[in-house]
Amino acid sequence: MNDVLLPLMLGLPTLGAIGLGIFRLPARAVGTTIAAATLLIAVVVTARFDYAAGGRPQDVVNVRWLPSVDVRFHLGVDGISLPLVLLTALLVVLCAATIRDRLMMSVVLLLEVGMLGTFVALDLVLFFVFFEVVLIPMYVLIAVWGGPQRRPAATKFILFTLLGSGLMLVGFLVIYAATGTFDMTALARAHGDGIAASTQLLAGTLLLVGFGVKSPMWPLHTWLPDAHTEAPTVGSVLLAGVLLKMGTYGFIRIVVPDLPSGAHDLAPALGCLAVAGILWACLACLALARGPHADLKRLIAFSSVGHMGFVLLGIATLTSAGLQGALIGNIAHGVITGLLFFLVGGVKDRFHTSDVTELGGGLLAKLPALGGLLLVASIASLGLPGLAGFWGEMLALLGAYSPASGLSRPLFVTLTGLAAAGTVLTAVYFLAMLRRVDFGVVTDRWRSERIADAAAVDLVAWSPLVVLAVGIGVWPGLVLRVSESAVRGLLG
């Protein structure tokens, strides 16, 4: 009955983190092997996955843990979590391959435990525990290996996130008080039965703030640009690639199915905040891309706020199309922004700056491979059809154009229009950034300097992300087919 795969998937990185933390093992070899083995387990889980029953948790582990407080050790994957599990395991392998420091490797593996655990937990308290496991490692990653302003950035990150998760816990407990269970599968099955509308609204509001901080939702996003700018490359990649998804995953996994009437009441507010985030991010990026001192990492961080805005808008529509868009948007953003942060990290390693003005221009001429990949990734990020970024935005807009019955159509059509304007602005600032960094002639400062282009090792490391960005773009069914039946189950 109980399957060993998921505990193994969580146990392996845990052991790795402890082992690397205590013993002087060769960091890169051991860490990458463990991360790869974890990915292998995730692949086995995928291979065994029954797509016809994607709405049902599979590889389930469900054992008594703390009967005194009704908490069970309950794990499982379904069509919603499976793509995120794979993405997480993949990104950690790619990150691990670049890490030399033993303690940093240990911290990243610990981070992996929290991230994977959040996606496979099926008990609210267990979910909360894994959600919190992520905080300290990410704090350490930023505070120890970050940029010059790392301390305030790390502190801001952890305080914001903890505020969110504290309120989230109260939200969970409100749900528990009303239903008497922490079991996420039972709650999703009940579909809000037995929870009064006012209670749903209360719990939903608490969770909106909790998950909103993590997602991040405007105006709770202010920790994100600082954290991204100061974090080391590995931290930025995992922060954008996985951590932000934990927030939107929480919305989809808990708020939408468990509190349907609360979600319905909050949907207009969520939609408005999402679109505000999209436009806010676009304007901030535009100012950065055209301003005198633009940090590439900061620009990409702000663009994340916009992209996650589309994901939140998709959720706010409460339609099958919107939720599908949110899920594929999650994956696409993880792949593309992960790649962008790797590339910017590569630029920073070579030029020792990520300031647009200092870089000058002509990256494509100076370093064709790196510049070319930056071009591809940016275009994917701005949502060009045929690449992964397109589908999430398209489906979110489609969902918003005809939102779930009972939601105000005029409001959501207005939001569709505003968000569509956001896609145009996104294209504008990405192209402005590319024009200043990628195109043009190499400035005098860098012309005479010999700078190595991306090495074969780097290209191998980044290629899975490029392949996925193109693959999902050409064949979105790769993700959509997995989540299809699960999404139908969510909306009941």
Partner: protein
């Protein structure tokens, strides 16, 4: 009617063993030669373990009562509730004894015989409070807790800070006792009884009869509550705590913050739940406000502390607030609230003792104990830094200190369950403030030291202290992975 009362010595064996050990230690101190003074601590430890064994036996056996009145009602009841507190207190004493060993060396000039005897005497009072079921037993128990504690705080010879701390503690404590006594007098005056079950019945009967609460009894309830709020250092009755903790030897501060607070909570819970149950409408909101204010003020002031013991002192004020939260549910599902407070107290005892134990170890390296001194501790004492950071995250309620997180979950769960969601939200926001200062200290220990550190480990660490810290570390790690046994133990009912 027989005039001699039969006493069940088995029921009162834990406090009895503690008192006997205290006397033996004191006498031994007089008669053993100076070079054998070091054997006093093992003697006290053996007595404590004996009492712990007796308590464990009582915990497995059925409830025993003694000092019973002819009309029903007993003054001393060794039920699950009592044994739970006794185990927490005695467990804490084992650790505190181990932490105290460095106090007895030449430099600290703390007389070991007196110290150990006073510690055991104070503990005997706590053991009585946990099992006391009438107002006078509780009051006498509390005084037995406090009187030796005043001396313990100021026992370091020729230390003006210690004397000041002891005086402050004394004055505050006496005032709180006076208030409690006055409250007890008012309650006795209205109900005509000091036995808690009688009081509950009398209050309920009056309530039904008159259709309203007696203002005199309500004032008595509030006054007794204020007296206990002093004992557990809840805001606004907390002013003694930071100065007393800072001035006292660190193990004594640990003892006060864990064992003394536990005794205060034991008495408070018994009074509220058994005696004053009909007046839940009076004390419920009052406890809620005390909890909210304690958490918020404790955490906010802790943010600005520069001395590690003061920081921990303010943090214990905040934790008194968390401990009060589940009691604020008052009449709605009170047993659940009591369970939550008990569970939190058990976990809090382990993690707070751990933090204070780490301070004792750190004191060898940095006698001033300024927080800034801890910078780069990881380079000088890696194991200590990791353990300290672990306990701080546990107090903050974050992984890897998952024990603290469970504690918070249990407390918030009771609050939400009992319809005091507003208090749960206040507590949740307070965890963020708490994190800010715990994390600042933890991060500092792992930050690179700015000045090149010329001062190596000045001397060998004391082995007993290390053993004590190791014990609480193991306990906290176990509670982080599988707290079920503790949560199960806390599932008691008060008879």
């Amino acid at each position: 009617m027989s005039l001699t009362q039969s006493i069940d010595y088995a029921a009162i064996s834990p406090p009895l063993i503690a008192v006997v050990t205290a006397v033996v230690v004191l006498l031994a101190d007089l008669f053993v030669p100076v070079r054998l003074r070091r054997t006093l601590m093992p003697l006290a430890l053996a007595g404590t373990l004996g009492a712990l064994g007796a308590t464990a036996w009582l915990a497995t056996a059925s409830t025993r009562s003694t000092f019973c009145l002819a009309g029903g009602g007993c003054s001393y009841v060794a039920d699950d509730f009592a044994t739970y507190f006794q185990i927490v207190v005695l467990g804490a004493l084992v650790v505190v004894l181990l932490l105290s060993v460095p106090l007895f060396d030449e430099r600290e000039r703390v007389p070991s015989g007196e110290f150990l005897a006073l510690l055991l005497a104070s503990v005997s009072g706590m053991l009585v409070v946990a099992a006391g079921r009438d107002l006078l037993t509780l009051l006498i128990g509390l005084e037995v807790v406090s009187l030796p504690a005043f001396v313990l705080v100021g026992l370091r010879r020729g230390d003006p800070r210690g004397a000041e701390a002891a005086l402050k503690f004394f004055v505050f404590s006496v005032v709180s006792t006076a208030l409690t006594v006055y409250g007890i007098a008012l309650i006795y005056g209205t109900t005509g009884s000091i036995e808690l079950h009688h009081i509950a019945r009398a209050l309920a009967a009056r309530h039904e009869h008159a259709g309203a609460m007696s203002a005199t009894a309500a004032a008595g309830v509030v006054l007794v509550l204020v007296g206990f709020a002093f004992k557990v250092a809840a805001v606004p009755f907390h002013f003694w705590a930071p100065d007393t903790y800072q001035g006292a030897p660190v193990p004594v501060a640990a003892f006060l913050s864990v064992a003394s607070k536990a005794a205060g909570f034991a008495g408070l819970i018994v009074l509220l739940v058994v005696g004053f149950k009909p007046y839940a409408d009076v004390w419920g909101p009052a406890v809620g406000v005390l909890a909210a204010v304690s958490m918020t003020v404790g955490n906010l002031v802790a943010l600005r502390q520069r001395h590690i013991v003061r920081l921990l002192a303010w943090s214990t004020v905040a934790h008194a607030g968390y401990l009060l939260v589940p009691l604020a549910v008052a009449s709605k599902d009170l047993p659940d609230g009591v369970r939550a407070t008990l569970a939190y107290l058990g976990i809090y005892a382990a993690m707070n003792l751990g933090a204070f134990g780490c301070v004792v170890l750190a004191r060898r390296l940095h006698p001033r104990l300024a927080i800034e001194d801890l910078r780069g501790l990881v380079a000088r004492a890696p194991a200590l830094a990791v353990a300290f950071a672990f306990f701080l995250t546990a107090l903050a309620g974050l992984p890897p200190g998952v024990a603290g997180l469970f504690a918070k979950v249990v407390v918030l769960r009771a609050a939400v369950h009992g319809d005091v969601t507003w208090l749960a939200v206040v507590a949740a926001i307070n965890t963020v403030i708490g994190l800010a200062y715990y994390l600042r200290v933890a991060a500092l220990m792992f930050a690179p030291s700015e000045a090149p550190d010329t001062q190596p480990m000045s001397e060998r660490q004391s082995t007993p202290v290390a053993v004590g810290v190791a014990i609480v570390t193991v306990v906290t790690v176990i509670l982080s992975v599988y707290p079920q046994p503790l949560l199960h133990l806390a599932t008691t009912s008060i008879v």
